[in-house]
């Protein structure tokens, strides 16, 4: 073995190192090594084979927990009266095919009696009709829209302001940047509780403390039960807490992205504008904003998509009322229920009939696709790359 290596090293030994005019090093080998490489090629796998081997682990997970679920959920949404049976062949697609073959979904193994008869599912838009005529679901769409329209622009504007201001200071910039990033590395539910306490009408409710300093009586912000000073929390007050909390959690990521965008803008533009005597606002309006537009587009799209999928943020604001993970304020827990909250509630409480939840999630997908397409259409005119 050692001899072989020695032999090979001698064959591969570099005779001379030359530099090309461009400065790249060229090795001149004593002997041609092509036969060595050819020998090794015989034992190594072809690239495509290696590729599929290394893709196997990822593909297993992708097929079972991503591709199949997408197809399956899509399928279930269009099956009328889909009933998911907890037993053999109960994967939705398998269920469907087995139903084609026999009419018995679940048989008593001893007596051979049919426990649950299976009607062959038929396709249609039944689930969508059910979902779209469900008052709670429609309310959840309106709730989500309302929160998105208020929260997203506010968060973007504030984070844009903070980012420009941070960019124009030198001292303590690193410290402030870290402080503004802190909310990103927190647990949504833990901080949801803290916000409940800050807004509570009992002890530790700083917001009500400030209000009473101005001579106002303490407001009941969250609880559906009347307090000493106030009735059940109004829709508006609950909405304020949700929006404040989501702005607080949302700022960190946006500031970070805007800061990294600002860092790439060439200082020459600013110097030129200063020589021209432009005011700070004109500089911001005419230079910073246009040059930051790719980041603004990116943030706008991702935050709209993210905000349409809001759930934990809203839920955690009500978490210490001990009404479970599907309570969103009000008497029936539907006051500020978001779309995703409705879907999970359906899935958890009604999991034998997943067609409804599946149809709901497809409606959500449609909304997200429409919003994204709209934003791309608008951005074509406005974004400078």
């Amino acid at each position: 073995m050692a001899e072989k290596i020695k032999e090979r090293n001698e064959e591969m030994a570099v005779e001379e190192v030359k530099l090309t005019p461009e400065g790249a090093a060229v090795l001149e080998l004593k002997h041609s090594t092509s036969h060595l490489i050819a020998k090794r090629r015989l034992v190594t796998l072809p690239q495509w084979a290696t590729a599929w081997i290394v893709l196997i682990p990822a593909m297993i997970f992708l097929v079972f927990f991503m591709f199949y679920p997408i197809i399956n959920t899509f399928f279930m949404a269009f099956v009328q009266d889909f009933r998911w049976v907890d037993g053999a062949g109960s994967f939705a697609l398998g269920n469907f095919f087995s139903a084609l073959g026999n009419t018995c979904a679940q048989m008593d193994k001893k007596t051979g009696e049919c426990l649950i008869t299976n009607s062959i599912p038929s396709f249609g838009f039944d689930n969508f009709v059910t979902v779209l005529s469900n008052q709670v679901f429609l309310k959840s769409i309106l709730n989500t829209l309302e929160l998105v329209i208020i929260e997203v622009p506010l968060t973007i504007i504030i984070s844009l302001l903070i980012a420009t201001f941070l960019n124009s200071i030198k001292a303590l910039r690193g410290l402030y940047q870290t402080i503004f990033f802190l909310p990103y590395v927190t647990n949504t539910i833990a901080l949801g509780l803290v916000f409940q306490m800050l807004f509570s009408s009992g002890q530790g409710g700083i917001i009500n403390m400030v209000l009473s300093n101005f001579g106002r009586s303490p407001v009941n912000w969250i609880s559906p039960y009347p307090t000493q000073f106030d009735g059940p929390a109004s829709r508006f007050h609950q909405g304020v807490v949700i929006v404040v909390y989501s702005i607080w959690t949302g700022l960190a990521f946006k500031i970070l992205v805007f800061m990294s965008g600002l860092a790439t803008i060439d200082k020459q533009y600013y110097d030129a504008a200063k020589v021209d005597g432009s005011s700070s606002f004109t500089i911001w309006r005419r230079i910073t904003l246009p040059l930051l537009s790719p980041q603004i587009l990116y943030i706008t799209i991702t935050s709209f998509i993210g905000a349409f999928k809001m759930y934990t943020g809203v839920m955690s604001v009500y978490s210490s009322l001990n009404k479970g993970a599907y309570y969103f304020g009000g008497d029936h827990g539907e006051e500020w229920m978001p779309i995703v909250g409705w879907i999970y509630k359906q899935l958890d409480e009604n999991y034998l009939y997943p067609g409804i939840a599946a149809a709901g999630s497809l409606v959500l997908l449609a909304i997200i696709l429409v919003i994204t397409a709209l934003q791309f259409a608008v951005s074509k005119k406005r974004v400078h790359y």
Partner: protein, 321 residues
């Protein structure tokens, strides 16, 4: 700055310019500081409130009052309560309860193993997409990117059925494997891998290194910072995950099977939710806050140590939880 090179008509104009600049700076810092306080208040509140005993919390009004309390009211009893394995109920009997130690253990097991699975699948897949040529590569990659548009709820609905079907409810398998692959991490790593110059690959080929050997000897060492970022973000994501564990592991084995051991399968976020409604925290806001603090503190330690990796990784992504 360009200030020193500016010319003014007279001394008073120069002074006015400087004065305006100072006023501007003051307002700038004032604005930023106010917002920084807005960001910090919840954290300060959480730290202070978790460290006072229940009666002191009742009297607690503002931070100003807190300083007057004095150190005799400082206590770790709230923390002791949430880590205790038993508690005395209102009948005076000692009752077993799930402690946060259990939630921590569960979460660490899930976070470490799911991160290991995610990183291994992401590195191997990203290697195939970045370095190797095979039929259908572009189509498959486009398919992967397309799934990023689809809301996770669509997958959760079927994955929930799969979990029940495989008898995975209340098991670690459900928590670890269902999120065993992340399309975003594959995409992110592929970007890094593609920046490695082709010449290295050719040189390695000349040396007779196989493709797999090249991945381990060259690509992984070069892409180590990105892999670190993925590791950290994935660990943090597992720590904060709530929705999926809430569906499949919100409770203990007893609920799922006829097993005698009362083994709580909750992760920290779900444990925190259950703490809010538990007997020990009823009407005791300080204990609830201590629970929040215990869930948040490890994240902070993590953030302080790995700030660089986290901020770089996050600025390129939009993922959370």
């Amino acid at each position: 700055m360009a200030e020193h090179a500016m010319y003014f008509a007279d001394e008073s104009a120069r002074r006015r310019y400087i004065a305006i600049n100072i006023v501007k700076k003051v307002f700038l810092y004032l604005f930023i500081t106010i917002f920084a306080l807005f960001m910090l208040t919840p954290f300060l509140f959480m730290i202070f409130a978790s460290l006072v005993d229940a009666t002191a919390f009742e009297q607690f009004t503002l931070f100003a009052d807190f300083s007057k309390l004095g150190f005799e009211n400082w206590t770790f009893s709230n923390y002791q309560a949430i880590f205790a394995k038993t508690y005395i109920n209102n009948l005076g009997k000692e009752v077993a309860r799930s402690s946060f130690a259990q939630y921590f253990l569960n979460t660490i097991i899930v976070a470490v193993s799911s991160t290991a699975v995610t990183v291994v699948t992401a590195v191997l897949a990203a290697f195939a997409f970045a370095r190797l040529e095979f039929k259908g590569k572009n189509l498959l990659f486009a398919l992967l990117l397309a799934t990023m548009m689809i809301p996770g709820e669509m997958m959760v609905i079927t994955n929930y059925q799969t979990t029940i079907q495989l008898d995975w409810k209340f098991t670690f398998s459900a928590l670890i494997f269902v999120h065993g692959v992340s399309v975003f991490y594959i995409y992110y790593l592929r970007q890094t891998f593609q920046q490695i110059p082709n010449e290295l690959y050719l040189a390695a080929k000349v040396d007779g290194v196989t493709d797999i050997g090249y991945l381990f000897k060259v690509m992984i060492p070069i892409a180590m910072p990105t892999i670190m970022t993925i590791l950290i973000l994935s660990l943090m994501g597992a720590w904060n995950s709530f929705i999926w564990p809430n569906l499949v592991a919100n409770g203990n084995w007893l609920q799922g099977k006829g097993v005698k051991t009362n083994y709580d399968m909750r992760l920290v976020s779900n444990g925190l939710m259950s703490l809010f409604s538990s007997d020990i925290a009823k009407g005791q806001d300080a204990i609830k806050i201590a629970g929040s603090m215990v869930v948040t503190a490890p994240l902070f330690v993590f953030f302080i140590v790995f700030r660089k990796y986290i901020m770089r990784g996050v600025s390129r992504s939009g993922i959370k939880g």
